[in-house]
Symmetry: C2
Subunit: 409 residues, 2 copies
């Protein structure tokens, strides 16, 4: 039986998960591919650290040595940061290897370039692990929804943020306390900026945009907001009318361009993400034929992420040539900024409110549910600069039994 | 540009949806396949009925005329009942055409035979539409989870039953009233037996078993129960402790054999199906690497089902040869019948209860939450023949604030 030789760049959680899975699932890999999959080399940073790697695997801190291996078929990249990951992958593609990456920041910045380079060199790029961990979102969009016109995608793409929001709500604790908990559980880094300020979700959203629509919005036009401004008090008030805060990435196809946002919004119990709690991820794809499909599962973790990489490994080895991004003709939704919908507005001064903002209900002191368009609220914000507003997804129905029952803590 | 000629057998909801989608999405089909897709012929039952079909399409009541068309590449079968659908498909496969079916009863009975025949004739069989309508469950298991060892699959596979259960609970109305509502909405047939007695979900479960595990359980060993025995009173009592009835198909790999059941069970809010309401379908796949992935979406309807057929059309046209069912080595779960878990038991006489049944809580008159194994309950049933029991999925935590608040209506 011939052999597929794999190199793994990086031996952190993802790299180690991939290595261990190639050992534990070698029978399945051989059965599906008709070839034995073998880890030929692993690139590490620190040579002194003790690692559980078989002796026959070539372990090195020098990438050049991996590039010069006599046989190399697939390179799995599981490093962080854009560089040197991008340079490494360009090199291996030019050598004629398939590549699989779990690096969302690098891929959001350089994915297009890598895919073009891969096409020129007749190899494939797998990047399922860059978005939503083990949930096969990329392949579902790419392989299973080829004919459906995707209109909109929503996602809970950052498990850390979702975990923090869940903790804050369930335990009525502050953002800081919940972040600490996330760090203790290994869900958040010592520097949590990428997660809690929405950068991680932003990169994933841009990758999804390329896959679903063939284009990306201008990065600086994307509304990106993290979860740091949400207080447990605001959360509790929203909860009184049956709403939960969720950090949601949204992509909408508006004809000539894709509109994107990555921010906390409020959802009611009819929304598919209302019940997505803890570190889970979820993606809802709205398309013209099938309607709304929701995929939910683990967004991170050693084996879920390794699963995405390994399933990609099968995919790239079975594809004889590079799969290019399909630019799809998609259905168009009307301009979302003019759409009248429900919002939760904090710090609103009601007697000073313009007539195009319809005040539906005061649910806490200075906290109102209003009916207005995004444009209307932008207009109001110029007059009342202290307000903050959050979109309420779907239909709003007051869950308050009597006004008296509402108090603001 | 060369042409792919398609014949559609049957022009009910599914057949018409496929026909209309081939027209409306012809650009996407050409772009993906590099060939024009054309409906060459449609098989109908009643020649006198007025239908919205273009003049150039050959419409006939005689299948033989379709079989003798000079060019025929793909046949979409959207009829009900096992026969003559099975015979038709055998004929077209032998002619060398790919086939796509939406007929779960036929496919559950004869799928294996069709797939073997297709392999001999080097054509493909698409059957995504047989399970969970527009949700790409079959292809996710087949294409995206090739290396994961699937341990367990659960599904809400019958939208009609789920709709009836949702209506009964939300509107506190009887099974009969809710069934009538389902019939008025077009979700249930005049003869609802297939849906409400669990046959439809059973067929789908057997198809899933083949895909996930390569084998099926003995059909007559599968516990199959519909929803007709559930009363709205029982539902309300369960609701008091935070549980909902869902009609769930379950497949568990127990080593040498696959255990299946299709029956109403009770789930709490942490279960992925607790929030799946109305005609929606959902499938949760538990596998060793990725953990639990849940797919949710429309289980029926003209365009969701057409979507599944059309995406299959792309799949079979892109596959040069037949895809055979993969027999996978799967992880094994321990014997479920010995596992101690929570159950809701109706009609229990507590003072006569054997010591291995732990009575946790009386939640209504003669309705108890107990902790026991399936074997224990089978044993109890021999002594107290009037009991009925339902599995409580996941962990049980009493949601009753005080005992006094529980009354049985």
């Amino acid at each position: 039986m011939s052999v597929i030789k794999v190199a793994i760049l990086g031996f952190g959680t993802v790299g180690e998960g991939v290595y261990r899975t190639i050992q534990s699932h070698s029978d399945e890999l051989s059965a599906v591919l008709g070839k034995k999959v073998e880890v030929a080399a692993i690139l590490i940073k620190n040579k002194d650290r003790k690692r559980n790697i078989h002796d026959e695997v070539f372990v090195t801190t020098n990438f050049e040595e991996i590039l010069q291996l006599p046989q190399l078929d697939v390179v799995v990249e599981a490093i962080v940061d854009k560089e040197p990951a991008f340079t490494y992958l360009k090199n291996v593609i030019q050598r004629g290897c398939h590549v699989i990456t779990a690096n969302k920041e690098m891929f959001a910045h350089h994915g297009k370039e890598l895919l073009e380079l891969a096409e020129k060199n007749s190899v494939s790029v797998g990047f399922e692990a860059t978005v939503a961990g083990g949930i096969p979102v990329i392949q579902t969009l790419r392989q299973l929804l080829k004919i459906n016109r995707v209109q909109q995608i929503e996602g809970i793409l950052n498990g850390t943020s979702n975990f923090i929001l869940t903790e804050m709500r369930e335990k009525k604790q502050s953002f800081e306390e919940s972040l600490l908990q996330a760090q203790e559980n290994g869900y958040a880094e010592a520097n949590p900026t990428n997660d809690v300020e929405g950068f991680d979700a932003f990169y994933k959203t841009m990758i999804l945009s390329q896959i679903a629509f063939g284009v990306e919005p201008e990065w600086d036009e994307v509304e990106r907001e993290g979860i740091t401004s949400i207080t447990s008090e605001l959360m509790e008030t929203a909860g009184k009318i049956g709403l939960k805060f969720k950090h949601i990435a949204s992509l909408i196809n508006e004809g000539n361009q894709v509109k994107a946002s990555v921010k906390p919004v409020l959802v009611g119990s009819e929304h598919p993400f209302y019940h997505v709690e803890g570190v889970e991820n979820a993606v809802a794809v709205h398309s013209d034929l099938v309607g709304r499909i929701t995929l939910q599962g683990p967004g991170a973790g050693m084996f879920p992420t390794a699963s995405a990489v390994i399933e990609d490994l099968v995919y790239v080895c079975q594809s004889s040539s590079s799969k290019k991004l399909t630019v799809k003709t998609s259905s168009v939704l009307p301009n979302q900024h003019k759409k009248i919908k429900y919002w939760l507005v904090q710090g609103l001064i009601p007697h000073n409110c313009p007539p195009f903002i319809s005040l539906e209900e005061e649910i806490g002191e200075g906290i109102f549910v209003v009916k207005a368009s995004k444009d209307d609220l932008n207009h109001l914000e110029k007059q009342q600069t202290a307000i903050r507003y959050f979109s309420i997804e779907g239909e709003f129905q007051s869950k308050i039994v009597s006004k008296e029952s509402v108090t603001v803590n």
